[in-house]
């Protein structure tokens, strides 16, 4: 390529290259947006699948067992999503990832929300950054792309909303009632951990308000359980038994 362009032809040739480059960029961007939408949709389905599994066996089996069944069902679907990311990995290899990050980000966050939900039910803890990154790596442990810190945190922040739903439904599950207290403690911890990070992530600041609202709802559930059982001077299990007998009679 000549160093200084002196003729119309040389300018047009150069700009032809620019056109190809820009078209290529926009096409890739478009493909990634579509893939990200697919990831979002699948992730939402995983979340519903988990809630569904937890509700299905309402009061019929052990709480822990129910959770694990939900987790194992979710894992299959999560694998599908991971394959979608694997498929995208070539287009966002090397320095290209950061060019397209904001197009990939919505799907990625929704995936992290679903993954961390399953993880919580399995381990009762928060999935770590490294574990999320590992789930987005090939068999040899090579990441498909570097996990952005903000996507990780924003995905986790949405988890608290799902946990709120989980806590509210658990009130009508036998034994599952103690679950509400566990979730309450966990979400309280999340809120505190996120609080320290809000100065660095504008969007997290906004989501923190939603988390606070979710926490208040969970606290209300825990309160309602306490108030109710405080009126009678009987151990909680016995109360549960009495209610169950009346309903099933």
């Amino acid at each position: 390529m000549s160093v200084v362009l002196n003729s119309r032809e040389s300018i047009l040739t150069t700009f032809n290259h620019f056109r190809e480059e820009l078209d290529d960029f926009h096409d890739t961007r478009e493909r990634l947006i579509k893939s990200s939408r697919d990831v979002t949709n699948l992730s939402k389905k995983v979340i519903f699948l988990i809630h569904r599994t937890l509700t299905e066996t309402l009061g019929q089996s052990d709480e822990k067992e129910t959770s694990l069944r939900a987790v194992s069902r979710a894992k299959g679907k999560l694998k599908e999503i991971q394959n979608l990311f694997a498929g995208m990995s070539e287009e966002i290899a090397g320095d290209r990832f950061w060019r397209y990050q904001k197009n990939v980000s919505p799907g990625l966050q929704e995936y992290i929300e679903a993954l961390s939900f399953a993880y919580y039910l399995q381990c009762q803890t928060m999935i770590s950054y490294e574990e999320v990154q590992k789930s987005l790596s090939d068999a040899d442990g090579n990441p498909y792309f570097p996990l952005p810190l903000d996507d990780y945190l924003l995905g986790l922040s949405d988890l608290t909303g799902e946990l709120m739903r989980y806590a509210i439904s658990s009130i009508s599950r036998r034994g599952g009632r103690s679950e509400a207290n566990e979730v309450c403690k966990f979400v309280r911890g999340c809120r505190a951990d996120f609080e320290a990070l809000t100065p660095y992530f504008r969007e997290l600041r906004k989501k923190q308000q939603v988390t606070s609202q979710s926490l208040e709802k969970i606290e209300d559930v825990a309160y309602a359980i306490t108030v109710r059982s405080s009126e009678y001077d009987l151990p909680p299990e016995l109360l549960d038994d009495i209610v169950e007998r009346t309903v099933l009679e």
Binding site: K44, K45, F48, H51, R52, T55, E56, L58, R165, I168, S169, I171, S172, V221, A224, R228, Y232, L239, I242, V243, R245, T246, V247, E249
Partner: protein, 223 residues
Amino acid sequence: MDAQNLDHINQLLDKDVELREKIKDQVTEFDKKTRTLTGLLNRIHSTPSSQVPELIATVTPVLESCKESTAALAALTPPNQFWRWKDMWSVSLRNAVFAAALVEFLRSGGLLSLPRAAETLGIKDEWRDRFALSAEDYLHALISMVNELSRLAVNSVTMGDFEQPLKISTFVKDLFAGFAMLNLKNDTLRRRYDSLKYDIKKIEEVVYDVSLRKLAPSQSNKM
């Protein structure tokens, strides 16, 4: 634009404007009926169970009269344009289905199925591309019914009826399990579905109170 094209556009436009007016008039009529329905059904909260059949008897003719509205709307809607106009009447339709489903529960304790709900309101299968009961509208109506049943559970106890909350509890839990099957988007249905959990919680509390006071007579031979 040339005159012919402008004429053509104006014709299309006039037809739409006129149609919208006509549908609006019918919806106003339909709406009056469904407001009467909800007004009448609001009385269940102060009607002892023994008098519920009489209350239902006053509701039935109004519900029947909704058939005229659905027929009129089906007649107005052009072929294949169901989805174009349905937003205009879906609030009224949901209210009518709500009333029908609540009446069914009060009568039989069971859930009115979608086809049966359509039938009750006189919606014919052959109108499918002009007027139908969509799954979404049906589901909204069921949620409204649960909202009402949680109030009814509370008020039944006040009126000294301790059986009703137990019936409601079983029914609503089954229905909730059904809702849990669905993959919802972040839309109104999702938001209302989330709110169902609070209704269930309230009903559970009533059942709990009733159970613990051992006030409920034996149910074994009734359910």
